[in-house]
Symmetry: D2
Subunit: 384 residues, 4 copies
Amino acid sequence: MSINHLEQFTITRNRTEDICAPLEIEDYVVQPIIDVSPPKWHLAHSTWFFEQFILVNHAKDYEIFHEDFAFLFNSYYNNMGERSQRHHRGFMTRPTVSHVLEYRKYVTKKMQELIQDNPSQEVVDLVEIGIRHEQQHQELLVYDIKYILGSQPTHPSLGNYFDLKAEAHQQEWIKVPGGLYNIGYQGDAFCFDNELPVHKQYVQDFSISTKLITSGEYLEFINAGGYKNFDLWHEEGWHFINNNNIETPLYWQQQDGKWFCYTYNGLEELNRDIPVMHVSLFEAYAYAEWKGMRLPTEFEWEIASDKFNWGQVWEWTNSAYLPYPGFTKVEGALGEYNGKFMVNQKVLRGSSVATPPGHERPTYRNFFGAGNRWMFAGFRLVKK
Amino acid sequence: MSINHLEQFTITRNRTEDICAPLEIEDYVVQPIIDVSPPKWHLAHSTWFFEQFILVNHAKDYEIFHEDFAFLFNSYYNNMGERSQRHHRGFMTRPTVSHVLEYRKYVTKKMQELIQDNPSQEVVDLVEIGIRHEQQHQELLVYDIKYILGSQPTHPSLGNYFDLKAEAHQQEWIKVPGGLYNIGYQGDAFCFDNELPVHKQYVQDFSISTKLITSGEYLEFINAGGYKNFDLWHEEGWHFINNNNIETPLYWQQQDGKWFCYTYNGLEELNRDIPVMHVSLFEAYAYAEWKGMRLPTEFEWEIASDKFNWGQVWEWTNSAYLPYPGFTKVEGALGEYNGKFMVNQKVLRGSSVATPPGHERPTYRNFFGAGNRWMFAGFRLVKK
Amino acid sequence: MSINHLEQFTITRNRTEDICAPLEIEDYVVQPIIDVSPPKWHLAHSTWFFEQFILVNHAKDYEIFHEDFAFLFNSYYNNMGERSQRHHRGFMTRPTVSHVLEYRKYVTKKMQELIQDNPSQEVVDLVEIGIRHEQQHQELLVYDIKYILGSQPTHPSLGNYFDLKAEAHQQEWIKVPGGLYNIGYQGDAFCFDNELPVHKQYVQDFSISTKLITSGEYLEFINAGGYKNFDLWHEEGWHFINNNNIETPLYWQQQDGKWFCYTYNGLEELNRDIPVMHVSLFEAYAYAEWKGMRLPTEFEWEIASDKFNWGQVWEWTNSAYLPYPGFTKVEGALGEYNGKFMVNQKVLRGSSVATPPGHERPTYRNFFGAGNRWMFAGFRLVKK
Amino acid sequence: MSINHLEQFTITRNRTEDICAPLEIEDYVVQPIIDVSPPKWHLAHSTWFFEQFILVNHAKDYEIFHEDFAFLFNSYYNNMGERSQRHHRGFMTRPTVSHVLEYRKYVTKKMQELIQDNPSQEVVDLVEIGIRHEQQHQELLVYDIKYILGSQPTHPSLGNYFDLKAEAHQQEWIKVPGGLYNIGYQGDAFCFDNELPVHKQYVQDFSISTKLITSGEYLEFINAGGYKNFDLWHEEGWHFINNNNIETPLYWQQQDGKWFCYTYNGLEELNRDIPVMHVSLFEAYAYAEWKGMRLPTEFEWEIASDKFNWGQVWEWTNSAYLPYPGFTKVEGALGEYNGKFMVNQKVLRGSSVATPPGHERPTYRNFFGAGNRWMFAGFRLVKK
């Protein structure tokens, strides 16, 4: 395996630890909602992945670090044995953070030896997957850390972390002619199974905005009573916001008539020029309805993506997360990776400021439930 | 308005009452699960629709039957005022069944007078919608009655009601060539807004079965441990069957090694030759995975539908229920009709033995949640 | 067995049916909250009791009416076989009301024959218990019917039913000297096992009111902010009222500044002179705290009960429902009758306008959970 | 204030920190069930008590340590302002453990200065209460730490901590003659308000065991099918064990036919000679029923307590936690202390190995819900 892979592996492992560096030990442990995993869990789970899928089978005379860890840090890889219950992750005080960091060090070293030792193509491919997997958890870590700190009544600050910039450019409409387009990843570098096979999609003429909806624009929707007007909402969305008392994006609050927003710098006055984020699909849809427009499909987004800037926040599309025609899931445990989530999820395209370098592909298909709000997700509009 | 409309209206109103004819008064009242409405509620709600959307606005000097009914029998037409809470429908003992039947008689008569009185095109269109709406509730009535009676430990029988026939024909694979196809309703009779606009979809070559999966085939899946093998299931489906202790289709049970199934004739020995029904999308998907095949998309189904028989049970597709390109929802209260459900629902195509005459269109887009099982839904397969 | 027993039995059976006479069939079926059983269930369960505990074992050649009924209308007599799940009672449409009435007629006749046929003392005792049991269900029927009708948005009226009279007499304080008193039933007529054995209790001097708290007095507590002042409440009571949004007794509501109350005559303006009822123990306690007084213990109540009028509503005491010293539960299925409820329940003393004749004993120990409100329960105060 | 008070205060503060000494930082943060508070919370809350109730009002020029802490570490003292939601305690990562320890140091020092400075009797009394309050939390800390560590799949060990000894003495029955007894605290040292006033209770003759039920004896109950025999259980207890799948005391498990129990030393083979603990009132009651005996009342226990050894585990009584005749709650915020819990709780008498020195009084009235199991609670029997 090339030096390049070794370097990439090492950079990835270090980057995960860097993301956690500003945390206190206490911050590593808790799980305030089911979607948010304790940072300690991410640290261990991404390590477990390398141990279980690579070292155990491919490293000569490998001794596993600790027998309990396989059980404790499995997530949904049912094939690998009974997993620890997801909503109990936040009760796990042992192993400690420092024990997990030892685990990381041990596995990193063993992996580095394996990578340097001229491994088979199978191992090379698994390392590639393992790196991607850890990078995906890096982005979740950034979200989860925000949620954990944002749940503290004391609004702690991490200082400079992952900040958005203003959408400073002029808003314009890009006209895209209808027709048959190829969709899916056509390069020869890495991509996930859900980006394949390349296939044709017929789309109609459409016009898409060059600019994301900003916090300031979204505030107009709030002020216009958008959250009180059921005509704008999906039936399920209307129940969602009412059952959860949702009247703003996550992390927003009003004090004495002024709008504030929790950021990694603590509670700050709302910046109206940056893209709105921490909204659900339901809210993005309602905003679009209010404007008499709509969200793009994932195909429209992919086709037009070289015509606008993207990369600050993931962008909701109105496409359901479904297999491309001819999609086949990988055999074995890694086959659980993507296909099993292809129901009741919506596709998001693009990337965010928290996305690890190398994950920004216009064909990348991220997905979340329509009610998820803790990730960095915003949206742009298409004319009806 | 033509005699034809008057006749169609009258036939529809009578048919609803015929469907309920074998019930005892007690059967009209209960709501054993949130999805199942009391038959009394269907009787009243379909009547309320005519009263609120047509008579109140278009019949001269119309006096509403009872002022409480507008509140009580609204469903999700939020535009028409606060609705009664859905999960309280089964506590409503008043108005009584006989009072509701009076309400029906009163509104039917007033509607008949209006239809005979040369109404405007707007009214004609609303009558059309009202008839379709009542017909949709007729089918739900058939499902709900089955669920209510099937919940009785005494397994009551209604006698001849809505029975399936054996899928007697030989199973064959129809090859359909890929290419651009027109999708959507192209006739000039009635269709729902969600079947429009007609638009192009590109599909790949595919092979679809001429035959629905039967109860006997599905039993093999059960016997092969299909419900115990997580590899076959969506992540959400796996939780669904485990949290709800699901190990068979709804209404199936095993006694002393023999398989029985609740039908309108009471608890009967399982008929292995009829199409399997009362399965969720999750179960249909898992069965397909087990066979190494897949469910059709709604476009594939529509394209191939003139090449096989359908009409015994609705057929799950793997398509999400989404707007066709260019879809616009109708203005006003009727605009809530379809668009607001276009999230987290799957499309079913075809029709069932319980479908009212005139609703069998190959372009008809029925939809349910992936976990719904009380409706008449089965599936056919497509080769991967 | 004496004519007297036959007469008593027949009167009891008829009275149960008289209580249900004003109902529509629909009213017999529903269960709006877990505590409220469908009237049909009461009709059948009280009949089942005679069939299972007497006829099956003691009537020659008795043929049970229907084999399903034993399963369906058991309540918590676990000894008698698996019981139907309590919260499913409101889904049971079959057997129908008329089938249940046939069941009653059949069992009544068989019982009458048995009673006339010179039965053993064991049977006589069981008949006595069966009559008491049915009478207890009569009182629950009155409560449950009120709850079912009171849940209807249309506020139906039953006309003259079970009405309270004004507490017209002057309020006075009765001083009772402390000392050792005998507690428990000392007569030689029927009493329940929980009223025995007679035993001594030492009480201190106390002063008890001759008058129940009225609706008008309770309204002052509401107007004084009683429901907003946590100092007055038990910790559990404070959560109870807040989690359930309780701000008034059950059935009260305010419209345009006026107070109304649902009664068997429909929604009526609040009568301030009758005893307040439909309050929980928590509310009675909070009122007492507000007044700087307290609720009586069940012993104080019993000792003083010949010194004031009682019988309009059951009266909350601050005593927990516990066995008297030396209490022994009866062997066999009837042994489940009382002892198994002796935890986390409070004792109520007296009787109500809905109490069947013959159940008004000063030693009678009724019991409910501290949060129950649908029964006829009020309270009187004792000076601290 | 005497040197004695200063010493007692200082000893108490140190002891709390000693109890936490073996913990890892991660162990301080989590809340695996609602009853268990994070150790960090106990550390802070007991400190907050001194700050809010004493320093703020009585220490000259006192500056509060941090304004957020008053909000964060209030428990149910509603009088002192809005409290942080109890079930969110386990999401609180900030303030950190070390910040909380600084808070402790700051408040301890200020309190020591105040105590040395000849304080008023009011302050002396409050210090007394504050010490008792912190001692009560010390005992909860011991329970909570066990639950947190016992929830870890890795069964961590703390080494020597709070261990029980065998009940080595011979079991005997002490006969106590009935009559009038004085109940309540009659000394002139500290007692809680719920131990007063001293008053008379009449009890009947009874015989009480000199020995607690042991794990070995309890195992016989399990092996005899005690958890499967509904005749032995309260109705509520039967639902409790079935809804929670309870078949053994908390912390017990069977592996390959052998019985193990989680202790502070990790998972150990069950010691059959020590008193059974971690059973609910429901289980203690069922065991007594199985033996044909009963639990003592709290009065019987108090009367007989100088005739047997106690102090290893708290002992369930069958008495409800109710005010003694003439009980008055203290004015102000401290008045919330005991009276507000006097509903739906059972009294436990004695003390446990985790009880802080000075809390072992035969008149001490501890209380828990009938379903609580995480505290050190066992039981002894009385003959029926």
